[in-house]
């Protein structure tokens, strides 16, 4: 299981045992798991499983810091004494001026990583997600909350490229022990305006053309038929008036050329 896990992550090889992290980069969370990633304002990253293991000495406590910055900016996350920077989102203008500390995490447990298959289990899903990934840009309220004291992780800007970096910090001395490379640039979704959607259906369907054309022709034929029958009705009555055909009619002699008039008379 562990071997699979490592392969799934960063392609950890045994040769990287000493300072493995320095050749690795933070990775975006598995797209098979988190299909909605990145979004407009968030990026979900895999936690650094088995990345810093070579450096953990027993009895000491460590933390992992996550830094984020916009692409193409200054990339130092420590000062000259290798103390990690404590910059916040506001101080670096959302990552424009330099990296900011986005999260403080526990060192992920390499020995018992979460099983991604457990995600189907409703009871375990929440824990699996918490252990497996971190969602940068998740906290919508901390920027506006004056009482908020922790590390603020406010929404990112949309359509912007970000890079991320994990570092390992010794809690007691507060000194960085190891770091990963900056991640590949990860771009948040950009906003497409809804007014650009074209709702025109394009070509007409065959059915519509058939119905319209046939009905137009039928209406035309009906009107033609009406005129023809009126015409023949008049002709016929004139014929019968002149040639005295086999049927006797009391009104034949008076039939007027208009059908309306003749039908009026038929009522009488």
């Amino acid at each position: 299981v562990k071997g699979d896990w490592e392969a799934l992550f960063l392609g950890v090889s045994i040769s990287d045992l000493l300072f493995p992290a320095q050749s690795l980069r933070p990775q975006i969370a598995s797209p098979q798991l988190a299909t909605n990633n990145p979004t407009f304002t968030t990026v979900a990253l895999e936690k650094p499983f088995c990345v810093f293991d070579g450096l953990l000495s027993p009895g000491k406590s460590y933390e992992v810091y996550l830094y984020a910055m916009m692409d193409s900016s200054n990339s130092a996350v420590t000062d000259n004494n290798s103390k990690p920077l404590d910059t916040t989102f506001q101080e670096v203008n959302g990552g424009q001026l330099g990296p900011y500390k986005a999260a403080v995490l526990n060192v992920p447990d390499c020995a018992s990583p979460p099983k991604l298959a457990d995600i189907r289990n409703v009871k375990k899903a929440s824990d699996v997600l918490k252990q497996y990934l971190f969602r940068v840009g998740d906290d919508v309220s901390c920027l506006y909350d004056p009482n908020f004291l922790g590390v603020c992780n406010p929404p990112l800007a949309s359509g912007t490229t970000y890079r991320f970096k994990y570092i390992l910090v010794d809690v007691t001395s507060g000194i960085m022990k190891d770091e990963t490379l900056w991640s590949e640039p990860i771009k948040t979704n950009s906003v497409k305006k809804s007014s650009t959607i074209d709702t025109w259906p394009g070509r007409r369907s065959g059915g519509m053309i058939v119905i319209t054309s046939i009905l137009s022709v039928l209406i035309f034929l009906l009107l033609a038929g009406l005129f023809a029958s009126v015409f023949f009705a008049i002709m016929g009555s004139e014929d019968s008036a002149t040639t005295e055909t086999r049927h006797i009619s009391q009104t034949v002699q008076q039939v007027a050329p208009r059908p309306q008039a003749s039908s009026d008379r038929a009522d009488q």
């Binding site: 798991l33 988190a34 299909t35 909605n36 990633n37 979004t39 407009f40 304002t41 968030t42 995600i119 189907r120 899903a125 929440s126 997600l129 990934l133 969602r135 840009g137 998740d138 906290d139 919508v140 929404p155 949309s158 906003v191 497409k192 305006k193 809804s194 959607i197 074209d198 709702t199 259906p201 007409r204 369907s205 059915g207 519509m208 119905i211 319209t212 046939i214 009905l215 137009s216 039928l218 209406i219 034929l221 009906l222 038929g225 009406l226 023809a228 029958s229 009126v230 023949f232 009705a233 016929g236 055909t245 049927h247 009619s249 009391q250 009104t251 059908p259 039908s263 038929a266 009522d267």
Partner: protein, 260 residues
């Protein structure tokens, strides 16, 4: 009176039969159009918000035309049996008017059917769903209708967006302008919920973890019934018109040959 020989009787019989069928079809058309207008799926607000509910206009015409066809068929039958020129002339003229109306209904339904595209409902959903600042009362009414309909559709039919939840991620929307993307990548109705309406796993839903969000689009549920009904109004109307055409022509022929 008409000629008494068998040929004429036979022709009269055909006309009566034709009119009986017209009458029955008229009732059926009325019933079908009433069913359509009664809006069983409550999708009318979506159509209303496109500012184009021609298909309902077509169905309303269909209701009255169906009723008129039934009445005219009765008139026609009586007229043919009595061989009454005046009645038949009235029948022919009124039938032509009805025919013209039904043609209009039929063509309108067939044409409007082409306009039920995915993009039509997508754009409307993005621009009207939870619209916080409608332009005027009319717009407010439409936005509320769209919001209500979409909430219900997404809850009851286990679907989300027009093509899928990605609609909310691909485009800017009124919903997006009032809700943070971090908190609401898509509406809560897109999350798979338990009976009490609480998402099974909210984080999973936001991240798009399979099984915790509804990945199906609602397009089929919207366009499906509308499309079927419009198809019915258009093609049933068309069939009736084709039949009526022959009956009407024959009646004209008969009318022109009635002698006194």
């Amino acid at each position: 009176m008409a000629k008494g020989d068998n040929g004429v009787r036979c022709f009269q019989g055909l006309l009566v039969l034709g009119n009986v069928i017209i009458g029955l079809c008229g009732i059926a058309l009325t019933a079908e159009c009433i069913f359509f207008v009664s809006d069983q799926q409550t999708l009318y607000p979506l159509l209303e918000a496109t500012n184009n509910d021609d298909i309902y206009g077509a169905a309303w015409i269909g209701i009255f035309v169906g009723f008129a066809l039934f009445n005219l068929a009765v008139l026609g039958i009586v007229g043919v049996i009595k061989s009454n020129r005046a009645m038949l002339l009235a029948y022919i003229i009124l039938m032509l008017i009805t025919y013209a109306f039904e043609t209009a209904s039929c063509i309108t339904a067939a044409t409007h059917r082409d306009f039920f595209t995915r993009n039509l409902f997508l754009k409307q959903m993005l621009e009207k769903y939870q619209n916080p600042e409608p332009l005027n009362n009319d717009d407010r009414w439409m936005s509320e209708g769209v919001t209500r309909t979409w909430d219900r559709l997404m809850l009851q039919h286990e679907c989300c967006g027009v093509n899928g939840p990605s609609d909310w991620q691909n485009y800017m929307s009124k919903f997006r302008s009032i809700n943070s993307d971090s908190e609401f990548p898509w509406p809560r109705q897109c999350c798979v919920m338990d009976i009490q309406g609480i998402p099974f796993n909210l984080d999973g839903c936001k991240l798009g973890v399979s099984g915790y969000y509804k990945d199906k689009g609602c397009y089929e549920l919207i366009a499906g019934p509308m499309d079927r009904h419009a198809w019915g109004v258009a093609w049933f109307g068309f069939a009736i018109l084709c039949w009526t055409f022959w009956v009407l022509l024959c009646t004209m022929f008969y009318w022109s040959r009635i002698e006194y």
